[in-house]
């Protein structure tokens, strides 16, 4: 999992955010009231404009695809989990995810490895995989260590198969090699057979899944 604390998130916003982003974030973090979390919805939406969406350079975090606004939103939610009752924070997280627009959903999914008690968040992450939006799906499926670390087999297999379906490269799924199973290959091979029966091309990523299992 990602070992990134609140201080590190603030530093990243200072470096990669728009001018004034760090000061805005510090004020916002101070204002978070664990007894009035409704205000956090406003902060999460506002992060996009106050911090910007500059991409983080590769290697800045041990995760891919992050932008400055993702970092700011992660700081806000990490602060909520620090201050609020865990049960309340988990429920609020689910509401924000369900009612967020696409960019908010992306951020909320990317930050999952930074939040405490991952088992309580798995169902929200699994639900997010049912999206029709490729960018939201990529936020949970690609460069994110959370699914491989915490998803049950059935849900992880569905995630991989959905990536194959959506032409999202399975090579971008963090921790995939450790989670390839005979059952996942069976599902992938059934899909290949279905494509063959329909005289349609078979995604090359199915071959990659076989290689990963054989190389273990």
């Amino acid at each position: 999992m990602l070992d990134v604390g609140l201080q590190r998130l603030r530093e990243l916003v200072a470096v990669h955010g728009v001018p004034g982003a760090e000061a805005w974030l510090d004020t916002a973090l101070d204002a978070i009231d664990p007894d009035a979390l409704s205000g956090v919805r406003v902060l999460l939406a506002r992060c996009a404009r106050k911090v910007g969406d500059a991409p983080l350079p590769v290697g800045e975090l041990e995760a891919a695809g992050w932008t400055a606004r993702d970092v700011a939103r992660a700081a806000v939610v990490v602060r909520v989990f620090e201050r609020a009752d865990l049960e309340v924070a988990v429920t609020a997280y689910g509401q924000w995810l369900r009612r967020g627009e696409q960019g908010e959903q992306e951020s909320l999914l990317r930050m999952l490895p930074l939040l405490p008690d991952p088992q309580r968040l798995v169902s929200h992450a699994v639900e997010a995989c049912r999206t029709n939006s490729e960018v939201v799906f990529r936020a949970i499926a690609c460069g994110n260590p959370f699914p491989a670390a915490h998803f049950p087999d059935d849900n992880f297999n569905q995630l991989v198969l959905k990536a194959v379906f959506m032409n999202v490269p399975v090579g971008e799924i963090d921790g995939l090699s450790g989670r390839v199973t005979a059952e996942l290959l069976r599902m992938a091979d059934d899909f290949a057979a279905e494509r063959t029966a329909a005289a349609r091309p078979v995604p090359t990523d199915i071959g990659l899944l076989h290689q990963l299992l054989e190389s273990r």
């Binding site: 699994v126 639900e127 569905q158 379906f165 329909a198």
Partner: protein, 294 residues
Amino acid sequence: MKLFDPHIHMTSRTTDDYQAMADAGIAAIVEPAFWLGQPRTHTGTFEDYFLSLIGWERFRASQFGIRHFCTMGLNPKEANNPEIAEAVIEMVDLYLEKDGVVAVGEIGFDDQTPAEEKYFIRQLELGKEHGLPILIHTPHRDKAAGTRRTLDVVRDMGVDPSLVLVDHNNEETIASVLDTGMWAGHSIYPNTKMDEHRMVSIVQNFGGERVIINSAADWGVSDPLKVPKTAQAMREAGISDDVITEICWNNPVAFFAQSGRLDLEAVTTNVRVDQTQLWFGNSVLRGQTPRVDD
């Protein structure tokens, strides 16, 4: 030749689509309750959706001479949301009794989770309680295994196979569905699922008995004219008009007539279009001259 599209999500389509469908010979449709492309956050939005299926949408269809029926159900994707699933099921129980509701659906598996199975079984029970046929959605991912599991659940629940339409079949699933005595639906799509020419091959191999086709047109890339286009492809391939009529009209009519809410005589007569009519004060027209049939 009258055509029936037994699976189309018209709430996502335009009046141009209705006009084109009517011009192409589509005289009746079934609109299954499904999801809206993104998850709903409240049970109340399901109720308004269900009301539109039996209200405004039926009226819109009538304004273009098309008979509109629908199915009610909690779709498998949203069955996974514990915040809404139980309350929606209670609502489905009420709405299944409405006029023009000709089946429970579309229900079944998506991710094949325990929650999906629970609500699939519950809605098979609702079908028995309300005396309605069942329209089943089969999963896109892990399709062959998901379809086998679907057939097992239906069998274990003791549902009469003649009351079950299993949809979105392909070359690999049709035989197993027909072998059970259930009806096999095929969604003809521009890119995924099934296309016209593959469907022609399936009909050449399996014939028309209990075979049904639909467009499954919705808010995504899809084509509301796939039933007439597939009928034409079958005709060009030398399939007889009797078989085409069986697949594109007689079969869906016979299947949904098992609800007791699709009158066999009424459905074969033309809808008299009167575009001067209003629905709660609303017209589908925007200043055009209303069409009024004699």
